[in-house]
Symmetry: C2
């Protein structure tokens, strides 16, 4: 996957000024967990896909990487550290970080289009896959969630409102990754619904554990500034349910997600492991 | 066209916080000349299209509107006025302006997809049309040009370098609008090449006249802050060729563009008028 991301930089960043290309490369090289590409690949295999879906899997990761670059900006969450490294705007400045982030959206779209062609998917399937990614990254998904999250700073939110924001901000792209993988393998509508339910559960569990780690972990272990949610007055799961209550809720969600997969005989070891990782991870 | 842009706001901005949706609406309502949608419609008709392409025509305008929102940001060109109104970040703040701008990219993509479906275009034609727009808005087009333009501030550039930046920053989206319209009407490859040549000429002439107006017009007449290029130390056509030399170059380009259309029997009155408007406009 890391090799694929390097290939993307070599293939799709020609002609850009060095600063912008370097910032995009730096953003993509962030030592992340690559959860979204993994989920895409695992869903692809669970549905029976046997081709090479690694290039397709980079599509959601590029969108994710763009969102981190913009989230960290001084006028957004104002974070200096991300995964143990200075954030993109700390290294390249805000102006370059904004342009680099925006530039990553069409890069992701072209990656997905080229990947669908290389996999010889029917054009209408390729179109639906691209649409799935763009909607998850758009106003009804990530961007809507991000803006609602910023608008809610300092307000006390109900659990329902909080989950709605998480679903859009983080969950939409996780769900999209799974659906993209399933569609590329020719999934039936019921199979798509099953990976969607699994994705919603896993995405929310992931975000709950992010909140928990923000409370329980240290900046060194997590590789980003901790305690930010409390400092920004953001309502969070631990604040609403306590740490143990939040962890219990995450475990219940994972159980429901795995059940949805099992009903469609899609419960592979890979998909089970990544779900369990969500609730046991320490960074 | 204005009604279509309002429809887009009503259809595609649901669920967004009021601030972001308002900022997008404000950006789209900017009293612009709507050159890109007009060129798309005119190319569509010149090739023989007889359906309703007005929704499709909004796609490039949404991308254009996003680029203006980001161009005006304090960390970019830092403009307070645009088309006689305060810029989006002056009204809504930089944070909202950044998010609103980014949110407009997937909105444009979904608009184009829905328009292609409503026009019952074959899926592969719809895919090519969307791809044309995304590439023009991407690293090889607008974003690449914008970043090179910012990188060149204060440097003295050759005419060739300057044209290369213009071609990417402004020309790519104008050319894409024309190609999108032609493709939607079922253009042949030779017809696509002709509208592309026309578009390159018109796009460059447009930018040259923008530079000229920045020198010769007043802030009131133009509706945006004039004299910025000189103040920012940007090399410009009038600086390189003089005002009259720049105007002559724009006229020669228009002549070449109309010739390319005529060779393919695509020289309609509409396409001729908009080209001539480029070199006679005063704002």
């Amino acid at each position: 996957m890391e090799r694929r991301l390097e290939e993307i930089c070599d293939t799709y960043l020609p002609g850009l000024p060095t600063g912008i290309a370097d910032a995009i490369r730096y953003g993509l090289r962030s030592p992340g967990k690559r959860i979204r590409p993994l989920l895409l690949l695992y869903a692809y295999r669970a549905v029976g896909g046997s081709g090479d879906a690694t290039l397709l899997a980079c599509g959601p990761e590029v969108i994710h990487a763009y969102s981190l670059v913009h989230d960290d900006l001084p006028c957004m969450d104002d974070d200096d550290m991300r995964r143990g490294r200075p954030t993109v705007h700390k290294v390249y400045g805000s102006r370059t970080a904004i342009i680099a982030g925006v530039a990553m959206i069409p890069v992701a779209a072209v990656v997905v289009r080229d990947a669908a062609r290389a996999m010889r998917l029917p054009p209408e399937v390729g179109g639906t896959i691209l649409q799935t990614l763009l909607e998850a990254g758009g106003v009804s998904g990530m961007i809507g969630g991000q803006s609602r999250d910023l608008a809610a700073e300092g307000l006390s939110l109900s659990l329902g409102d909080r989950e709605e924001i998480h679903r859009a901000k983080t969950g939409a792209l996780i769900v999209a990754s799974l659906i993209m993988g399933a569609l590329a393998a020719g999934a039936s509508p019921l199979q798509v619904t099953a990976v969607e339910r699994y994705g919603r559960a896993v995405g929310l569990a992931f975000q709950i554990m992010d909140d928990v780690l923000d409370v329980t972990s240290t900046t060194t272990a997590l590789g980003k500034t901790t305690g930010r949610d409390a400092a920004l007055g953001k309502s969070s799961y631990p604040a609403l349910l306590g740490v143990e209550g939040a962890e219990a809720r995450a475990r219940a969600l994972i159980h429901d997600g795995l059940h949805a997969l099992a009903e469609q005989k899609l419960l592979t070891q890979e998909l089970s492991q990544v779900a369990n990782f969500m609730v046991t991870r320490t960074s």
